[in-house]
Subunit: 141 residues, 2 copies
Amino acid sequence: MPASKTALDPARLTAAVERLFSVLRHGNPPNDISLTAASTLRRLEREGPRRLTELAAAEGVTQPAMTQLAQRLERDGLAERTTDATDGRVVLVRVTQAGRDLLARRRAVRAEHLTALLRDLTPEDEALIAAALPALERLAP
Amino acid sequence: MPASKTALDPARLTAAVERLFSVLRHGNPPNDISLTAASTLRRLEREGPRRLTELAAAEGVTQPAMTQLAQRLERDGLAERTTDATDGRVVLVRVTQAGRDLLARRRAVRAEHLTALLRDLTPEDEALIAAALPALERLAP
DNA sequence: TATTGTTATACTCTATAACTATA
DNA sequence: TATAGTTATAGAGTATAACAATA
């Protein structure tokens, strides 16, 4: 049974993703950090210490924006900035334990919120989403 | 065959939605309006003219924030503000044709971007996502 | 001279507190 | 007095342009 006619409407999927994101976002803890801040911390946790330029490119922001974000993260104790021993120009950013703790707390809150949403769904709907999850992950790796 | 064990990991779904949203967002047209601005315009298009207080509550921002957003939208020609005839305190906001045009353009760009992403997916993956789409819509109505 | 990062400046977007106008 | 909205002020977050330090 070839899936030649999938009838997946991009506009509909886009709208669903946006609404889902919005719902998840409103379930955030108060005084939550920004999207870019969270994404940068996650990246540092996942990939280890990284350079400013590298982070700016990866997060799709300018170098000055990343400079300031790193300064805020450092001020809030979520990340540290060190200089590279072999190249005096380079600034390395790394996540602190407090940063890791914040990410863990954030994940727990969001998971709880999503779990509450899932309770209103039928087991069939939940199974369909579970089945599509790997495909969604491949769509945005 | 009851779906009692769906094994849907909330953290994984949250992460997938966030990454997907981020990817979709980076495919936005340059000088794109903000999340709240877009959401507010969509609401006005969908529900018709609304009051400031109502919009602020619906979008999850404060009244002053919505006042300023409405002023920016008006300045940019995307919305209009009128006073209610029966209650002099009330400000009604409505989307303009330029606002509708912008929403349509935005949808087209995003759909194109998503379509490009979908080209890298197998038909099976696309079918799985298509099958889960109604469930995702029910998850965040 | 090229690369890495910072500083200067300006704008959007948001919040809280204080205010004005209408009911 | 209560409600609807605005203004004042402060801070996060972003961009571009100009700058400093290192290679």
